[in-house]
Symmetry: C2
Subunit: 153 residues, 2 copies
Amino acid sequence: MAAMTRWLDPDEQRTWRAYLTASRVLMDTLDRELQRDSGMPHAYYEILVQLSEAPGRQLRMSQLAQAAGSSRSRLSHAVARLEAAGWVRREDCPTDRRGQIALLTDEGFATLAAAAPGHVEGVRRHLFDALSPAQVDQLRRISETLADHLTGS
Amino acid sequence: MAAMTRWLDPDEQRTWRAYLTASRVLMDTLDRELQRDSGMPHAYYEILVQLSEAPGRQLRMSQLAQAAGSSRSRLSHAVARLEAAGWVRREDCPTDRRGQIALLTDEGFATLAAAAPGHVEGVRRHLFDALSPAQVDQLRRISETLADHLTGS
DNA sequence: GCGGTTTGGTTGAACATTCAACCATCGGGG
DNA sequence: CCCCGATGGTTGAATGTTCAACCAAACCGC
């Protein structure tokens, strides 16, 4: 037997709607800026960032998928595109014959280096400039709590 | 001449990463639950919700696009699908021969009513249950500030 | 080392979104 | 009244994402 639905009260409704709108508009804006200035969607930028921060600028496909918050299938398609663009290369993994290693090419690194300043400026303008230092701190705690809660369960 | 990039300091980095992860995982989770339980993506759910709350359960396409945070093109495609599913119907606008009115069918309303409890439960479980009342309040203020900032500029 | 399960990764089809081009109508200024 | 720019909406192609099916290699127990 089903328990009664715990509906949202008016305050929660308002919070949820505001959150939905804000995160949608923020992401849309950053995504469009990145596409306009660097010709890639935010998800692809994330992949390049993760690779650039990995030792040797390379990662196993699975680890890269995890780091970039992507499904393996999605990553597979994405890396195929990034490879076609010359920004990423694939190599066989020496220790596991099933494995593939994605590695950031010099050209990919250069593209990322060119894209980063504009994107960071966008994040600052659209997010941090609007919030007080206290709010930034609150947002960090809230986000970390949520991420823990979601991945923990 | 370009000004120096205002890079993110370590605290800001951490906040931005946490926010990215949390909002991505939250939305992915809710989206997958909605798809599994009701066979529609979150964006389509939003369209049905907006229609259900409009007077007469109908809206002009443009207003609906605005309300659902969608481009007109996207909405056009989406409504075509929703119409094929029998959840929405299109009618000509009597006062503007260019216009189209989208209206929620009874079947669409029933589908929405069936989907809502599960979805709301998901929002509560994945979002509100993880946060303290103070944090919920903070999140609301932050989100409203951001939305204002983004749509204002 | 054999057979079954799990893991790593890819593939193709279905679906969703974006972008630019397009058509029709509306509305305002000569 | 006519023209012209702005508005409302759709379309098709290109691009991304998801889902399920699949293959191969690794791991595990015996």
